[in-house]
């Protein structure tokens, strides 16, 4: 199930494509139809760099059925460098490295799967920046 939905979400999930208002330049992720800043409807796609910092994080020990196999897993709110904030999982991170303000970058990973015969959902997760400049 949910095949059209996973297909439809491929741009934001794999490439972190959101929106930019052509009137006031405000950036959005996920994409919007109307700019919440100036109400303009002239909106174009915008590709985010995938770089950001951890605004907050939590280790989840009890979750919904499709995430049961991944417990414990780490979720976070991440401030993207371009502005918007995003909800995502953190990956490739030792627990002692977790902290607010940690620089992170986007990677595409498996997010969940619906049993043996269901759809495997891929999408963005964030990991500590590998090669900080």
């Amino acid at each position: 199930m949910d095949i059209p939905r996973n297909w439809r979400l491929r741009s934001p999930r794999y490439r972190l494509i959101g929106s930019q208002c052509q009137n006031c330049n405000e950036l959005f992720f996920p994409q919007v139809l109307v700019c919440t800043n100036c109400k303009s409807r002239e909106i174009d796609p915008f590709i985010f760099s995938g770089k950001g910092r951890v605004y907050s994080y939590s280790t989840v020990y009890q979750g919904a059925a499709e995430f049961e196999d991944y417990i414990p897993y780490i979720v976070a709110l991440i401030d993207l460098d371009e502005g918007p904030r995003i909800s995502a999982q953190l990956t490739d991170i030792p627990p002692e490295q977790l902290e607010i303000g940690l620089p992170v970058e986007k990677v595409v990973r498996k997010i969940s799967e619906e049993g043996e015969r269901g759809v495997i959902m891929y999408g963005y997760k964030f990991r500590p920046v590998l090669n900080p400049k």
Binding site: L9, S56, A65, V75, G123
Partner: protein, 386 residues
């Protein structure tokens, strides 16, 4: 605009009601409220419910419950606003009655959360968040509240143990409420040792999954009411915010709560000092803190410290969760908003359990919050004047 009165109330104990179906729960609460109001019919039935479709495979609740309570043929609909469905249904009934279009409306909040496993219920509750950009990424409601709590602790320099006060107070009050799910006390030590669900949120920060139903009869017909047992609805005001927490500039400031609370105070023509008690939405202890601050009942970043000063205790400046709140009474989501109304009406009638009855209580605010602060309805009840 007509004045709107609560002429009847009814509630079932919040429990794991394995022996009652959804329709049985709702209908019993409706009949209790109708008996209390001494009426046999009404102009409409509004049902507050969030998850009947997912968890029970049943929608069209208006028709179902009207038929099962002998009200078939009247206007009957379900209203959904996540965990605030109960108060949202009350708001619709309030608009209908205060406008004069209908005279007497029954509002019932009902939720059956124990039909399926905890995993399925957790997933169902997460439908109040953004399905594509929060829930699909693994953020359930505990996780979203945990992200808020961690940031709150970081910005305002609190420890996890500081939040125990909200939980200890709620349970201490719930002991005396026979309709509460948890009629026992929790100690600071038990809170500290509680099992983590989504760090820093533990089991004891979280309101329990439960079944329940509560109902009220509201009317503009002064002839039909018993003056000393009647409470009036001064206002019932909504406020909303973004569905996803990540789309808020400051996630620690609940704009929906701010809008709803201040609109309610303005409509009722009263100030914060005129509110004698608050039945708020402590789905998680962090929600208590954030909503008290956005609602103007505590300074920014100070709600936890204020709670630890005892200001929200039964004998404090502003008693909260008097009947146990969501934590102690339980949180049957779509029913919660109506439980708050029923409890506050009991308080104003002088019918609260002795230990919970406040002295000289004139005006109570109830606040029902859906999602993580995204859909809010605030109601002010007061003793009716004629």
């Amino acid at each position: 605009m007509s004045k709107v009165y609560i002429s009847g109330i009814g509630q079932l104990p919040v429990r794991e009601h394995w022996d009652y179906s959804l329709r049985e729960l709702a209908a019993r609460a409706v009949l209790l409220a109708m008996d209390d109001a001494q009426i046999e019919s009404a102009d409409a039935l509004y049902v507050g419910n969030m998850l009947s479709g997912i968890l029970t495979g049943q929608e069209n609740l208006g028709t179902l419950i009207a038929e099962y309570t002998g009200l078939e043929g009247i206007e009957a609909i379900k209203v959904e606003a996540a965990c605030a469905s109960g108060a949202a249904a009350l708001r619709q009934a309030f608009l209908t009655v205060s406008s004069g279009i209908l005279e007497t409306v029954v509002v019932v909040g009902v939720e059956k959360l124990t039909e399926l496993s905890g995993f399925q219920t957790t997933a169902a509750l997460a439908t109040a968040a953004d399905a594509d950009y929060e829930a699909a990424m693994g953020l359930n409601f505990c996780a979203i509240n945990a992200l808020l709590m961690r940031r709150y602790m970081h910005e305002y320099k609190y420890n996890r143990a500081d939040f125990a006060e909200f939980v200890v107070t709620a349970h201490r009050n719930a002991v005396h409420n026979p309709n509460a799910m948890f009629q026992f006390e929790i100690t600071q030590e038990q809170y500290s040792k509680s099992k983590m669900i989504a760090d820093p949120i533990s089991l004891l920060d979280s309101s329990p999954i439960a079944d329940g139903a509560a109902a009220v009869v509201i009317t503009s017909n002064k002839k039909s009411i018993i003056p000393e047992r009647t409470v009036s609805i001064a206002c019932c005001e909504p406020g909303t915010d973004t569905i996803a927490v990540h789309n808020r500039n400051n996630p620690l400031w609940l704009k929906g709560v701010e809008k709803s609370t201040f609109k309610a105070l303005k409509t009722a023509g009263v100030s914060h000092q005129d509110i004698d008690a608050l039945e708020g939405h402590d789905a998680f202890s962090i929600m208590s803190a954030l909503s008290l601050e956005a609602g103007g009942f505590a300074e920014k970043g100070q709600a936890v410290a204020t709670a630890n000063n005892g200001e929200f205790d039964l004998d404090g400046r502003l008693p909260i969760s008097v009947f146990g709140g969501l934590k102690g009474r339980g949180h049957p989501v779509g029913a919660t908003g109506i439980y708050q109304i029923v409890e506050s009406a009991m308080q104003l009638r002088g019918e609260a359990p002795n230990e919970l009855q406040l002295e000289d209580v004139k005006r109570i605010m109830t606040q029902n919050i859906g999602g993580s602060g995204s859909n809010v309805t605030t109601t002010i009840l007061q003793k009716a004047t004629f």
